[in-house]
Assembly symmetry: C2
Homo-oligomer: 195 residues x 2
């Protein structure tokens, strides 16, 4: 053995993730990244291979973090729907001024990478698909718990949730509509229960 790695991969990826989430892939320069994660080019490229490699790990980390966040809200809630409700309110209202962006990083990624054969486009699709599977499991639980009737399948509920959530986050990516968020989120969950 010899010299040990000085940086903690987890926290570096988290910092990079925040910057990529805020500025997008193309608008984030490698010098921006160097400053944000406090590493020199050589170290970055030996650890992650390329800017694209670092983005890849960042987006995967983002997906994991969302899941972890949801899990945390679920464990403090009495039902799946209440947990999701609290999560949505947290994301849209409480973190409005401290989050890198109001818009989900997965959605931003899917929107940014236009070429259908590009690696990062595929990545964004895969992460979104993975998240949809996770969400579907949650709605399966909700159905089994009797929180929702089974007029829709769990997958259909998950799709509906994603459309609503994405739409709302997009709408609230602007100033001075904060007081609208609460009632519109309320409306969203009322609709889910009435589907």
């Amino acid at each position: 053995m010899a010299n040990k790695i000085k940086f903690e991969r987890e926290s570096v990826v988290r910092l990079a993730s925040q910057l990529f989430w805020q500025k997008g892939f193309h608008a984030t320069s490698t010098r921006d990244l160097q400053e944000a994660i406090n590493m020199r080019p050589g170290s970055i490229y030996s650890a992650f291979g390329s800017k694209e490699g670092l983005y890849n790990e960042s987006l995967k980390d983002y997906t994991l973090q969302i899941k972890a966040q949801i899990e945390s809200f679920l464990s403090n809630a009495d039902s799946v729907l209440e947990g999701l409700h609290a999560f949505v309110e947290h994301v849209i209202i409480e973190t409005k001024d401290c989050s890198p962006s109001a818009i989900c990083m997965l959605v931003k990624a899917n929107s940014e990478f236009a070429e259908k054969d590009a690696n990062l486009y595929e990545l964004s699709l895969n992460q979104a698909a993975e998240f949809e599977v996770y969400l579907t499991q949650l709605f399966e639980q909700a159905i089994n718990n009797g929180e929702l009737n089974s007029s829709l399948t769990a997958l259909e509920y998950a799709r509906f949730f994603q459309v609503q959530f994405t739409g709302l986050r997009g709408y609230f990516n602007r100033p001075d509509v904060t007081q609208l968020a609460q009632p519109m989120i309320e409306q969203m969950f009322l609709l889910i229960k009435k589907l």
Copy 2:
């Protein structure tokens, strides 16, 4: 007088708009634009001032085009809601494979420009606000026609429409979910009528 301008500003802006819509602002190079609109740098910069200036005109043109499209669907429909329904189906289903992106250019713009004081961020907000005003007028009509009850204001209907539409377009920005579009759009308009 002397030499006349050789390009048609309208069609040039339309071409630029398509490219910006597809690739985003940062990923579109001035050389990409030169090729797309068939103009040399000097002409471009004397006509539009900068890449940002051309994008500015492109986004404004995009907004006008959407409105014109909606107007066209409205004039061929028996009611406001039917017209909007046809428009939504057209955008999400029929133009899926020929549109520069499944995602609305206004939404892409709003997502791409992170710095809250940047000109193009302000522009995206202004265009979105302008479009919301337009949509609100349409829903006012719909209410006056008795197509919708007035349990919500026209503005609230417009907001709901935008959230749904944006959410759906984001969801369908991926391959192999085409057969889902029709029923989900149906569901969207059923919900609007039942609000």
